[in-house]
């Protein structure tokens, strides 16, 4: 088997792998990054082409089972209420993320102390705040500083994107009710920023930015990392983290697209393959599972939506998409509501005309065709928008990934099999929040509302499956991502999260990765074998 050596081997070239690789390279270490996907150039995305809505049904679909590219691994989600979503490529799932950029709230780090459920994090919001600031600069976050939902106002380096007619309409409704809202913060530059173009509000963020605007690691991190000498190998599917006779990680075995196996050796191995890919690798390698928690406590953020329909033209296909507004009105626990924790709301444009046709909403196969289709498009298109609701998912050890015994990827490696059921707490939470969102729509003047109680294709946020903590019996990694059982093996993605918050997680994934990797750099001499 052909072999190479570098100080550090990283698996995954998404946001977390990008942060880790760049900091290590800046510190002068040699780094090899193994990524199963490839590079995607901006002009490959279809946002500016008329077939944009067509190609999102397969080519740019967020579910790897639908996309079915050879670099994707399939996922058996038959025993899950939610489909996990992701993208394999340089930039990871961020290539198709909405770029909603939100910090977790202070209370998110203290869930056990405040609400008596789940676990506290081993550090606080205040500890993480400098790392948030650091990654927000790199990710060109546009927004309005001073959000009263945060103690420090959640400052943003770039001014906000326009709110547009949709944002103004939603804001009026919220002000009428006296409810919290704030202009959305997004990892989308409102001005040219380093290597990024200014956003042109094309609104196709979720299927890739064809304008080179959205902040994705292939633009924000990898160019500098490559200049500093990082070796980024694409089309490299890792099947195993190898160990030496002392049980220390010695590298990773990977297969190229021609089926040839290689061994990337390193003194340190860092897994950044996301909340599904990382536990899959740990399970395939038989590592780090003394606590029995590898793959368990999977959290995916059940998502509900309320669409409001208005009798005026709101141009609701205009971007970003992206969040136009956010609300944290019902974010914190109020036990009188019958559940603990809460949800963030994001106000989103409704998109192109295809979203209003049959087949998207269930019902009979032909429902919504014929005259009904024309009426529906006339009534809703451009005249509706959504309050999306991200419910905090509490950890449950029965919600887990295991290795499938019947399904495998294109290299013959076992696919992940997902066991995930939404909790009663979450059901009650989403019911409460959708009812409030209907009120918000009505206050804004909606003539009709449509509630989607749970969207199955909503597993955008993958967390919890290699949980961090100080107790080796109750966690997989320490507070800096170091695997308890294997001192030179690290996890630096959302798998380490003790709880999920009700926020989109990438800001926190990148901030925690920065915190972990800078600590690794500081303490690297302690990692040498005794």
């Amino acid at each position: 088997m052909a072999g190479t050596y570098s100080d550090v081997v990283i698996v995954g070239a998404g946001p977390s792998g990008a942060v880790a690789a760049l900091e290590l390279a800046r510190a002068g270490m040699s780094v090899t990054v193994l990524e199963q996907g490839g590079w995607v150039a901006a002009d490959e995305f279809d946002g500016a082409r008329p077939e944009w809505e067509l190609t999102q049904l397969r080519k740019w679909h967020p579910n790897p089972n639908v996309r079915g590219r050879p670099e994707d691994y399939p996922i058996d989600a038959a025993k899950s209420d939610i489909n996990p979503l992701m993208f394999a490529g340089v930039g990871g799932a961020a290539l198709i993320y909405g770029a909603h950029w939100v910090r977790f709230m202070p209370s998110d780090f203290r869930v056990r102390t405040l609400d008596g459920v789940a676990d506290d994090w081993p550090f606080t919001y205040e500890d993480l705040a400098p790392f948030y600031e650091y990654v927000e600069e790199a990710m060109a976050v546009s927004g309005l500083s001073g959000n009263p939902a945060y103690p420090d106002g959640a400052p943003c380096p770039l001014p906000p994107l326009p709110m547009g007619r949709v944002g103004r309409k939603a804001a009026h409704g919220m002000n009428k009710l006296g409810w919290h809202w704030w202009p959305g913060s997004n990892a989308i530059p409102s001005r040219a920023w380093r290597g990024l173009q200014p956003c042109v509000l094309r609104g196709t963020c979720g299927t890739g930015c064809s304008d080179g605007a959205k902040a994705t690691p292939d633009r924000t991190h990898w160019p500098e990392a490559l200049k500093l000498g990082v070796r980024l190998v694409t089309g490299a599917r890792v099947g195993e983290v190898t160990t030496d006779a002392q049980g220390r990680a010695s590298g990773a075995v990977w297969t190229d697209r021609g089926g040839v196996r290689h061994h990337a050796r390193g003194d340190v191995v860092i897994l950044c393959a996301n909340g599904i890919g990382t536990p899959r690798l740990l399970l395939m390698s038989g590592l780090g599972n003394r606590s029995g928690l590898v793959g368990r406590r999977l959290m995916m953020h059940p998502y509900a939506g309320v669409m409001g329909i208005f009798d005026e033209d709101l141009e609701s296909w205009v971007g970003p998409a992206g969040q136009i507004l956010v609300s944290m009105q019902f974010y914190e626990t109020d036990v009188s509501r019958g559940f603990v924790r809460g949800a963030k709301w994001n106000c989103m444009p409704a998109g192109g005309p295809q979203s209003f046709r049959a087949g998207y909403t269930g019902g009979t196969l032909t429902e919504g065709w014929g005259a009904a289709l024309h009426e529906s498009v006339r009534r809703k298109f451009g005249r509706s928008f959504e309050w999306g609701i991200i419910g905090e998912d509490l950890p449950d050890s029965e919600n887990r990934i295991v290795l499938s015994s019947s399904l495998s990827d294109s290299d013959g490696l076992p696919a992940p099999e997902i066991h995930y059921r939404m909790s009663d707490n979450t059901h009650r939470m989403l019911a409460f929040h959708t009812a409030r969102a209907v009120e918000a729509m009505e206050a804004a003047g909606a003539i009709a509302t449509e509630v989607t109680p749970l969207i199955r294709d909503c597993g955008w946020h993958l967390m919890g499956t290699a949980v961090m903590g100080t107790d080796r019996e109750r966690s997989v990694v320490d507070p800096f991502g170091q695997v308890h059982d294997v001192p030179n093996l690290f996890v630096m993605d959302g798998a380490t999260f003790p709880t999920s918050s009700g926020m989109n997680p990438t800001a926190t994934i990148m901030a925690v990765a920065a915190r972990s990797v800078l600590h690794l750099i500081e303490t690297r001499s302690d990692l040498s074998p005794a």
Partner: protein, 136 residues
């Protein structure tokens, strides 16, 4: 791989019923949707041809949406492909886009930022809220 004349004729039966036109929007007939507009979709997504063909090969006349529902139930995947082809052919058509006032996902200036009216709305929030809760 293109559709045969027989297949196009069969597709036109479905298209006329599913997209009859109305509410100020053209119908499939006006656009001859089963010709160039459908070819444009299939050129981008050729994988839709085979499942759609299965539906087009079914026998029996379709005159109403109920007839189509019956056919669709025999092969939901095939029908999904046919529906996807027709809907995309329809909404990618310039005439339809003009009728519904949709310029497509066009580029606009994002540097305009917030207007004075927006700031006035935000000031209300600024003065009213402290929703975060201390973490200790």
């Amino acid at each position: 791989m293109t559709l045969t004349q027989t297949e196009r004729a069969r597709l036109s039966e479905f298209a006329r019923i599913m997209l009859p036109g109305g509410s100020g929007m053209a119908g499939a007939d006006d656009l001859r949707l089963w010709n160039d507009p459908v070819d444009r979709v299939l050129a981008v997504e050729p994988a839709l041809i085979e499942p759609m063909r299965r539906i087009l090969a079914t026998l029996g006349c379709v005159e109403t949406l109920n007839d189509i529902e019956t056919v669709a139930r025999t092969d939901p995947e095939g029908f999904k492909a046919l529906a996807t082809v027709l809907a995309n052919a329809y909404f990618m058509h310039e005439k339809v886009r003009a009728e519904i006032g949709y310029p497509g996902q066009e580029a606009r200036d994002s540097s305009l930022g917030l207007s004075e009216a927006d700031i006035a709305l935000i000031d209300k929030v600024r003065s009213a809220f402290v929703t975060w809760r201390r973490s200790c």
